[in-house]
Every structure is written in structure tokens, then in C-alpha cells.
Symmetry: D3
Subunit: 296 residues, 6 copies
């Protein structure tokens, strides 16, 4: 399903945007090659989604917008360019599906979506809450501070901000409590395993209701057995089947944006992480197609 990149936004419904930026990574760098590899393995995908019963390209016009012209040495310039590109796409009336890159990029993505949609509900799949005050002491931006910044910048509708799959040791004993105070509703992996994907999906629907919903999918929410190609793997996570089912379960929500981040091909094998990422993006694309199909 690969196609050459273009910046022609005329009549476009969905633009795929790459953000090959990994300078805000605390441990293993390398997610800069996430967009390239996800695109490459997307050659293994076909046009019809049997699980959701839709052939997305028959309903939405999709382009590969190419990559944001990131600056590895300057996170501020990079953030501005991300916001600029998303706003350009939004101005043309299209929805953005972003391929990361480390999770820091979700902050400018949220800024741009907030500019268009106002405060947004966020469904955030991750093993880490990414709500640190600082990752590198005294520096406000990193892949571990994204969602605290987003809350502080009033980008999120904190009545409808879900973190799903959270687990692992934390630097602070009160990490979860503070995240909750900031407005996050945390479904830990232990909660999630007990609930099952159907109940998680139900909870997402109840929480977000008719709000505009942005979905941020950190691939390390999935277990490293299924997604070894990531920078800060956290054992004890979702299976790929569970991940797919949860994204499919978002059908019916007012979906306004999606990112899949933290895919690090340097630590992958047999491309299985990139392939999962490509499939998750394809599921989201299919949801957009269903949404448009239903509107008609």
C-alpha cells in the first residue's frame, strides 16, 4: 500500500506524516528510522480490512505527506515544524496519522490538534505515563514529560484522558497518584488483564463519549515479545492481538488524530514491531473510513 510522498493536499481525507525525531529519548535512540521502516513493511498490507469490514481506500483519499523536516539538535525548531505541518494538513480538511519518532513529538501534535478541535479527549496506550516533571533535570521536554506538559498547556480534556497498559517500576512512589491528580484515568496492565479488551473498549467509550478523541499509541504498551523494537521496553504487556482489538474497538468515537510512536527498528527483529505498527495505523485508517462511510 506504499505510495510516493506528496504535499498535494487537494481533496485529501487523511495524510500520513512521518516524524523521524529521536533526540528526546532517555534510553535507546533509533526511533528516527521508525517512519521509514513502517512505510517499508506497509508493503505487506492489502487494501481490505476484514476485521472491520471496510476497504479504506474506497472511502477516504489518503496521501503520504512525507516526513517533517526535523532538526535533531533543536527540539524547539522540531516542535514548531511538526505543529506547522499538522496545521497545514488540518487547514486542508484532512486528518493526520503520524508515524514517530519518540513520544516527545506527541506534544506538538496535541498542540496542533488542540488548535483545531479545542480541548481533546485522549486515549493513550503506553506502559509509561510520560508525565514526569523533568526527564533530564531542568529540561522541560522529552519523551517522558509529554503528557504533563500537555495538561499544563491545557490541551487535554482531563475528564476524558485515559492511560492504558501502564506498568513497570517508577521513579517516584506517588507517580500514579500524581498522574491521577493531573486528570489521567489509569488502567494499569493488571487492571487491563483482568478487564479484558472488551471491557476496556467499553470504558473508553463511556469516558470519551462524543468528545473529539485523539489516540496516541506508544508501541511499548505492547509486550516486548511482540514489540522488541522500541527504546524503553517494559515486560509484562499486551499481546499484539489485544492491541489490535483495542484499536478496532474505538469504532464509533469522534476520532480526530492518531500517532504510533517509539518504534525503534535498530532493536527489532524480523520487522515484527514495525509490522505491528503498520497494522495498528491501518486499523485506525479503517476507522476513519468507516466514520466517513457512515456519515454518507
Amino acid at each position: 500500500m506504499r505510495q510516493a510522498a506528496t504535499r498535494d493536499l487537494e481533496n485529501v481525507d487523511v495524510a500520513i506524516l512521518g516524524v523521524p525525531f529521536d533526540s528526546a529519548t532517555s534510553y535507546r535512540s533509533g526511533t528516527r528510522f521508525g517512519p521509514r521502516k513502517i512505510r517499508e513493511v506497509s508493503a505487506m498490507l492489502w487494501g481490505s480490512n476484514q476485521a472491520l469490514r471496510v476497504a479504506p481506500l474506497e472511502h477516504v483519499r489518503v496521501i503520504d505527506y512525507g516526513d517533517v523536516d526535523v532538526v535533531p539538535v533543536d527540539i524547539h525548531a522540531t516542535f514548531e515544524r511538526i505543529t506547522h505541518d499538522v496545521k497545514t494538513i488540518h487547514a486542508a480538511g484532512a486528518t493526520v496519522i503520524t508515524l514517530g519518532g519518540d513520544h516527545s513529538i506527541t506534544l506538538p501534535l496535541l498542540r496542533a490538534h488542540h488548535a483545531r478541535f479545542g480541548k481533546i479527549a485522549v486515549v493513550h496506550f503506553d506502559s509509561h505515563g510520560d508525565m514526569w516533571e523533568y526527564d533530564f533535570e531542568g529540561f522541560r521536554f522529552s519523551h517522558g514529560t509529554t503528557f504533563r506538559r500537555a495538561v499544563q498547556e491545557n490541551l487535554l480534556d482531563t475528564d476524558a484522558y485515559l492511560q492504558i497498559g501502564i506498568r513497570g517500576s517508577t521513579s517516584d512512589f506517588d507517580d500514579y497518584a500524581r498522574a491521577t491528580q493531573l486528570g489521567a484515568r489509569i488502567i494499569t496492565i493488571r487492571d487491563a488483564m483482568k478487564m479484558g479488551t472488551e471491557n476496556i473498549v467499553e470504558t473508553i467509550h463511556q469516558t470519551t463519549g462524543k468528545r473529539p478523541v485523539y489516540v496516541s499509541f506508544d508501541i511499548d504498551s505492547v509486550d516486548p515479545a511482540y514489540a522488541p523494537g522500541t527504546g524503553t521496553p517494559e515486560v509484562g504487556g499486551f499481546t499484539s492481538f489485544q492491541a489490535l482489538e483495542m484499536v478496532r474497538g474505538l469504532n464509533g468515537l469522534t476520532l480526530v488524530g492518531f500517532d504510533i510512536v517509539e518504534v525503534n527498528p535498530s532493536f527489532d527483529h524480523s520487522d515484527i514491531t514495525s509490522l505491528l505498527a503498520a497494522n495498528l495505523a491501518f486499523e485506525f485508517l479503517s476507522l476513519l473510513a468507516l466514520k466517513k462511510q457512515n456519515r454518507k
Copy 2:
């Protein structure tokens, strides 16, 4: 449990046959080394199957028949040689366990089994239905057309043809419908995950009854976390435990043949895919031993 290859079929109950052929592969080639690697790691297997409570070599005489003398540049010659070798083994009264190779090789395997057993029930574990009209436009044989060809050649008993584990995007919206029209009963991975392995096993027994049953196991039915070493991995699949349980559950059927295909060592790591394949073949061998033991 490795032994030197031999073509001496006297008093043989089961012959292991390698088919190192990968020229009909649409994406990543390399399954030609499947047979060699599966044999190598079979050194890690011992003689007693505790799950099925049988020490197979005490009941059946097994040989390694070696590899079919395949011709990478000629699929027709290769198919004839496969059929020839299987018929030779059948003529000696032995059952064949085949180590692939890409899935195209199952067509000549089915031809040979049909020649001996007539129309056969098929239990087909796979993430793909392999029922395309063409994989490479205008060319009838590939690893993606095997079962359409088999149906067209009247080799299968289409009242008892099960596809188990089917998933992933398809090239055609009506892919499943057409497969069903051709006679396949599809248990998608979503069906399978809901049913559980016990119910799948029950369905297999009900569907195949007392028919002669051929089992074709494409390793990509298993999730790439458990079986990364394959050519067209499809995320969201079975665990290795589920795969083993389903094969064990075939106990009691009139089993007449087995293949394990699409093991691609070039994309494996730590030999886990080959090891799973070797174990699946061992489970099937154990079933043959139980069958013989019970006949006495």
C-alpha cells in the same frame, strides 16, 4: 532425535521428508533452509511425549527420507518430484511428515495424498487462506494459490476443509466469501480467540468425522512473537501453547499426512521458530504412534 537420512523404506511407518523449495514465495524467500534447521534443532527433542503420554518411537518406525531433489528454477519439475517421492513412500505403506519449504509445496503433497486416499479432509492452520486465483498475475502456482488449485483439482473433501487462524488485510474485499464458496470453513483468529482451543478442537472433530484427514500447518498461523522466522508474518496470531494444544487435539482423527511449512530461518532468532516447528511435527508423530498403538 536426529538420524542420518535413508531411502530404505522397509517396515517404515513414518517418513520425514524435506522440501527445501522457496521459489514460489511472494515476499521474503529463505524457507529452503527450513528442513535443514528443523532437523538440526530436533536434537533438542527427547523420545517421550508427556502431553500425549506416548514414546512414539516405541510404536512407529520412523526414518528421515532426506530432501526432495527440488529445482529452484522449475516449479513444475519440483512438484512432480514431490509427488513422486510421496507416492514412493506411500507405496511402502508409510505416512509422510513433510518439512517445508513454502506453502506451494502442499499442492503436490495433496495430489499424492489424494492419489492414495481419495478426497481428503484438510485441517489447514494459517493466517492466510492461500486461495488466490493468481499470486503473480497470470501464473497459477505460488504459495498463495495452493488451496484454490487443490479445490479446482478436486483433491479436497470440501465438506471438511477447515482454515484456522485466518487474519490480516486481504487484497480483495470478498476474499473470505469466495473462500467459503469454494468450500472452506473459516475460523478466523477472532473466532478462534473467542472459542478457545478446546472448542476449535471439538469443531475439527465434528467436521472431519471419520474422513481421512490431512493437516497442513503454516507456521505463520502462530503470532510472529512466537514464530518470527517466516516469510509473510501476520501479527495478532496464536501463541505457541495454543498451536501445540490444537495439534494434540487432533488425536483420534484418521490422520493421513502432515506438513509444516513457511519456516524461514533467515528471519528467525534463537531458533525459536524452528524449534516450534520441530515440536509440532513431534506432536503429529506422537498422534500417529497413538493411532497405531490403539489399533493393536
Copy 3:
């Protein structure tokens, strides 16, 4: 959470001990680098355990005691040095968490723990029972004979010796029966998958009661999808989530020692096996912290 190694045992509650020994391995050697790699990836762990709700270092004083000075060419000298180091640590009143190394090292570990605690209950996670009479004919010590030796040396309380996760083919048809006669209570992987981790945990508690409990965790009890980095992988095993849950479930027992063995970094990828091992050790450390916290 890494720190420089020290032999200063004053006021120490827990000592981490590496045993880089792999000369008793029957198949793939390389576990000698287990301790080094587990320590390296432990840099990815933070201080607070959210699942068990404890920040262990606030309750127990932990040191890295460094590695036993093993002798690859002499298993007897190695065993003596292991026992010596553990006894030294015990003499200082500290508990030992051992990072292996192949499973042969558990025999001297059990000897040292027996010397301090008398006959001990053992919770043994493994895919193999390691109760062979001989691994290499005529030689009594190897990673496959550990627990038979331990029983023969009267180190275990055989009323409370559990093997959990046992699976795979065996060299002998009566393998399990003999293990049971020797006093092992076997929960095979098929039992385990049916029971679920909660029932397994319940069984452990009922069996061990108030006895002193030693926990030996062979990483190959976990499925090779989650723990490829091991010497004799056995397909069809636990998920990492299940492994973590079972160790957490030991909370409340009279825990006296722990080892995590058979981590072989040469066959790992993306460090996921070492990372799981580091997390399992962290869970056990957290249990020790809870135990001490509760005593107060």
C-alpha cells in the same frame, strides 16, 4: 538501580550475587554473561514497585556483592566458592539474590541455604524438572541433575517442593512419575494454563505454609517468545505477565533465597530476556522489603 560492587556486608539486608558459570550446560553455553547483562539492563529499573506498592530500597539495604570467582574448568571448586560466598553473606545476616549462570549452581546455593535454614521448601519455576540421574553419563553434576542431587542430599523439604511450568519431551517415559516419587509436586504447563496464576499462587501458599521458602526461577519456564535468551528453550510456556504475577503472588511466604538462572545473552535480542530477569529479581527484592516492612 545499578551500583558498584562491594563486599562490605555491614548492615546489609540483601546481597545480589552473580555466578557467571556455564560449564554444566548440556546445549547452548553462554549463561556466564547472564549476571553482567542483567546488571546492565537493571539500569532501566526505577525504585518504586507499583504492583506491590513498595519502594524496596527504603526498607532494605541492598548491595551488589559482585560475582563468585568461578572456575570454568572445575565444577567442584566452583560449587565450593558459591557455597562459601553465600555462607559469608548469610553470616552477616543478609538474604541472597543470585543471578546465574546455568541451573547447576542452584545445588550449592541450596546447600548453603540448607546450612542456615535446615530443610527448605522450594518453589521451582522451570520447563524442565532437572531431576536426571546423569546428564553426561557417569557425571553427577550438571544443569539437568540439580534437584535430584538436592533431594538425595536431603536439602529440600519434599513435602513442599513444587515444580511449576514443566513441559516438553522427556528422555524417559516415567520422568514425571519418578520426580513425583522423589517428592516433587509437578504443575505442568497444561495444568498451569488451566489453573491460571491465581490458583497456582494459592497452591504454592497452601503447600509451603510457614516453611522457609527458597525460590529458583529458571527463565526457560517462560515461553521463548518472551525469553529467547536461554540455552534450552522450550516452546509453549508462560507469558512474562504470568511470570511476574506468580512471583508477586509469593508475598507473605517466609522467603529465604532466590535465584534467576539460565539467562543466555548470546541468544537474546533487544535484551528482553535479561530485562525480564531483572524485573523478576526486582519483584523478589520487593517481597523482601514488604516482609521487613511488615515485621516492624
Copy 4:
């Protein structure tokens, strides 16, 4: 230097053509991904060649013509499509640089070049002569029979056919003698190492003179330390520096075509083989630019 593929041949001087075909491989398949990977790593190349002092794109207009639509199961159809594409490019007046694929593809390439240029001199870098009568008994086409077929089809000017880098064991004691009888001038690796690259280059110039020269570069002529990513590696070969110097040394010849074959990314690491291949193609492209520059 990557660009999107196009079939627009207007005013084109050089067309890059991929041939992702590996079904004629005798040992390790996987060269089908050679063209994709070489293109990917060509992103690491810049526009100015300092060794040859030319910025090729300032002198020649280059396009990426994309891949031949190969048929893995049919070598004859594949050969026809290769010949067809090359003839189409030739008809537009452009020179072809081909990225393989296994070495069988050089036969149709030579056919097409012969059709345009008549009998051609060939400079053939390889560790193997590829002059077998049969690779797979009774089948005429494979990556081991290419140059015997080419001689038999009278495509080559056997007064100017050089094999450079030949080494390794052979199936037949008279292998070299027969190749010589067929018209090949063999510079074995031992000859080559004694001569040094300058003398090899001198010999090439003396032998080919003003004839039209086709260059076929099998990456396995280079030592596997420098080019591990290939199907039938042969130890004791050229360094990458020597390979580059020899191609640069072709400057001044009447160069009419080039292929770089047998790059197998599945067995590469750190992309070093593909990177060498991309550089070799870039050197050849630079030679074409110099040729055109000098004509003006």
C-alpha cells in the same frame, strides 16, 4: 540521492533498473531484496564523486526506472521481462545500471545489450566463473550457468571477456581450463593480489580496447568480511577499496552497461554490503558522466 521511480524516459541518459529475482539461487536465497536495500542506503550518498572528480548528475540525467515485474516461479517469463525493459530503455537512448537479484539475470541483460551493441566485451568481477553446464541437473538456467549460456548464445566477444577475482573450490578439476577454452581470460584472486589493482586495470584496458564493454559485478568477488550479505560467500577476496579502485579504473572504456548482483540483505549486517554495492553503482554512474562530459 534516492528519487521516486518513473517510467518517463524522455531525455534520460541513465536508468537504474531493479531486478528482485532470486529463484535461480543455488544456496541462500534473498537477493530479491537487493534492489530495495541498495536504493535505501543510497540515501547515504552525496552528489559529488571526489575520487573521479565529477558530480554525475550535472552531466547525465538519471532516473530510477523501478523494478522489472519478475515472476519468481517462472525464470523464462522473468528473463523476457528483463530483456523487454532493457530494450525499452535502450530504445530511448539511455544506458542501464541494473541492481540484482541473483546472477542469472545477467543473461537476459546481455541478450538485450547484444541486441543493441552486437558482441560485447565483458568485464566480469566474481569469485565464481558461473560457467557451469548445469547448476540443477538438466536445467539450463541458474546463477551458476549464466556465462556459459552467454558464450553459447554468441553474446560475448570472447576475445575480450575477463573474469576477475575467481577463487574457491570447484566442482570439476578442469573448471578453469574449460572456461578458458570457452574464451574467458581468468584473473584468479591469487593473480590479482600479486598484480595489484593498477595492473589489473591496465590489463582490462589492453584487453577490451575500443570495444563496447559491459561490466557485471558479482558482490561475492569482494571478501565476505566486506560483503557478508551475499548468497554464496567465498573467503579470501578483494577489499572494498580494491573493488572501488578497479571500477574507477574502467574510466576511458566504451562502457555500455553495468550490473551489480548477488546482494542479499538477509545475511548482511549494518548494511555494509548494500552500501558497497550502492557505491560501486555510483562509481559506474560517475564513469558514464565523465564519458559524456568528455564527449562534449
Copy 5:
């Protein structure tokens, strides 16, 4: 030869300093793990250098100063911290051996050395001149602009600035000419291969004379066959033997500092790149020992 890191500089002659920074990388990130891995494999080194006939630790007191506390998201802060740490070490009278990290870090290293030694001669081993005006348009600092910045900041004695091993395509036709105008004396790889290491060494001595000499060793000056673990490999480079001989050949110069950069363990295999880097650092350490020994 590993030892625990310390910041105690009393009586220290040489401090090993890690700079795990890779945010100024243009292609493959990952050099942040260079320092850790080089230290790890330094366990394979022993105390006596037979080539230079010196046991360095008998003559110089060496400490591992640990890593600079880099900030991946802020190159300016990182540069300041590098300069600060080096100045601290210098203030204690010790020489710094730096383990990178990408090549951007050499700029602050040169600043600090300039602060102590004034304009310094530089022997710069590299495949790239790193003298771009911009790597990322409009941003002055990256691993491709280091030496232009250094010249512009008047840190170097441009009468004695050598670049050795330069090769590969360049973005600009006049790249070399401009570097020469800025004061670099370029010994391209083609020059180098003709000269041989002895003549290169002779040239270095003649050029630098009695000036204070800083040595910056980019591991990509070595061929990727010998040093695959790097971010922008360039084929056709030095062998490891040549690299060692050139560093040994610096004996007798007024050596004031050394860095080994661009070691990227994510793309290494069998640790051979890190091992070469550790050996090169050991050779330099040995030179410092000889210098001190000779002073006595």
C-alpha cells in the same frame, strides 16, 4: 582493565571521560551507548602493550571519570557540561581520553583543550572532513560541522591540522578545496593507501613538530568491515591494523588529548568495533605512559 568510576582527581595523570551524546547525528543514532560498550569490552584488555613496550598503569595513574551528564534535548547545555568536566580534569593536571558519542562533542573538547594549551595541532582520523557550514540547514552544530566551527573559533593551529582517511561522495564539488582553504591538510584514503602508514606517520610528525597535539579518531575512518558499528559508515577505508599502527606512530609527539568517537554498538556485531575503539584508546594511553616515562 575496567574499574569503578570516580571523580577523585588527586594525583591523576589520565582521566577517561564518557560522552554518551548522539543527538547531533545525521543518520543512524545510537552512539550514546559507545562509552558503556567500550568500557565493557575493555575487560578484554590486559595491562602490557607489547607493540609499544610499555605497561601504562605502571607509569600513569588512570581513573574512569564516568560520563558527562549530557542532555539529549539540548546540545548547548551538553557542550557546556563537556567543557566544564574537561576543564575540571585539566585543572587537576590530568590528560583526558574521551569516549564518544557523536563527533559533535569534539568541538567542546577542543574548546577546553584550547583554553589550556592555546591553539593546538590536530590529527583528525576520519572518512568525512566534518567541515560543513550546516548539517541541518540553519543550525550550526552537528557531527558534520565540528571542524569548521573549530576553525572559525580559532581553536586550531591551522598550520598543523591533518585530516587522514577522507573519502566518499560529498555534497559539494568543492568540499575538499574549501577544507584546504580553511587550513586542513587532507590525506585522502587514496593518498593514504599509496603512502602506507609509515609515510603517513612521518608526515604527521613533520607537520605537527613540537606543537601540542590533539588527536580525534572517528571510528568511521576505518573500513566498515572492521568497524561496522558506526552511524555513517563509508566503504573503502583503513584496516584495523593500519589504524593501530598510525596511532602507535604518534609516539614522540606532544600529545595533549584524545577522543574516539562515532562508535555505535546498535550496528556492531561481536563487539568488534568497540573492541577496536578500546584498543585505540589503550594505544593512546600507552603513548601518554611512554611520554611520562621518557620525561623521567
Copy 6:
């Protein structure tokens, strides 16, 4: 050229013997899989040696004797079994080519050869002299003490004991001096690179004369670029071409035995180390064939 193992020594000229023992390794274990892998890749070798102009199997009858039944936990038992197997082969009049295993195994090999041939000249290719008093303090046998033990046991003719390729740091400043005192003539890698392979070969011939010559080839004498798959790689070594030329240069000597050791497939890539080892063994086999051919 692979064949099934046999112990039938009738009319055998040469027996290939595997010794899968790696318990005497000081750093990276894993050479136990050397014999298996070398045999596997020997499938890539053909029957005619063009460099030495001989088709060995036409002159000598060769068998694969299989592996010594080593005991990983007992080096003494292993040594006895090695000696026993070699003596058995010698008793049948055949020459042994041994595939290791770590270098400790050469001691029992030398004992057995000494028993048959008396004091033997030894040509020892290695980066390390393996002449330590102890590798593991107080334990006499390891892969680092082999040749000191051999000298102490009077197995070698110390007038004709050459070490070729020695390099790297040493634990002791007088390492080389002591080796020389023990009778070793050391050609360091620096000597070797200056001499060139022809002069090395000349020196070997002059030194050994008509004595019976045993050749022990540690693969780490070759540079890790060419032979990464080894336990203690040492940078700055021979190329594969040089290695092959030196072995070929032994033609004419009274060759009585050969081993190729320290091949560690766990750290290899693309099988290039094993392939080099297989080729080196093939060159030696060819020398034996030439010797027999010349006798006639």
C-alpha cells in the same frame, strides 16, 4: 562435501574429528557448536582445490569420525576421550583433522600425536601465545595454558615451534620473553605484516625442515573483520587471504596433524567465520592429498 559420520576406519587416510568442548574458555563460551557449524557450511565446498591443483578425495579416503563424547563438567575426562579417539584413528593409520572447540583441546591432541610421532614441530597460528601458567588461578588447564603445558610435558620439539600472528595486550610485561625462553619462536603480527606471507612460509619451512609438523590454527589469528565468530577476538590481524596462503604454503612439509579451533558460531554472522574454518581445513586436507600423490 558433507557425509554421515562413521567410525569405520578401514582404509581411511584422513578422519575429521569434532571436539565440541568449550568449558576451558576464559571469555565468551560457545565454541562447542564450532564442529557442527563448520560441517554444515562445508556443504558450500566443492571437490577440487584450484589453488593447490588437487582434487583431494581422488587421492585420500576421508571420513567424518563424528564428535568426541566430551564432558562439559570434566576437562580431564574430556582430554582422555580426545586422546583415546585420536589414538584409535592413528592406530588405523589415518591422519586426524580436528574441528574445535576451544584451544584447550590441543593439549590432548598433542599428547596423542606425540605418542605416535615423538616430539613434533608445531606451527601455531594465533593472536595469543596460550602459554600462561594459569588462566584461572591454580588450575592448570584452560585455553590459555595449552602450549606451556605442552612444553612442560615435552611434547614439542622446541627447536621448531612457531607462533604466528601474536598480538594484543598481555597480562605480563615479559610474556613474549618467557614464551621465547620456553622455546617458542614468535612472529608477531607486526613482523608478519612486514614479512609478507611468502617470507613467513619460507621461515616455516626453514625452521621445521623434515620434522613431523603439527599445525594448530586458532581462528582468532585472523582479524575479527574476517572471523568475528570467536571467543576472544583480537583486532589487527590477518586477512582471510593471508590465512589461506600461509596454510597453502605448508605444502611439502611432513604434516602429521591439524586442528582449527576457537570458532564460536554464536558470535558469527553470515557464517563467514565457519566458512573460513572449513576452507582452511580443506586446504590442509588438500596438502595431505598432495603428500600422498607425491609419494606415489
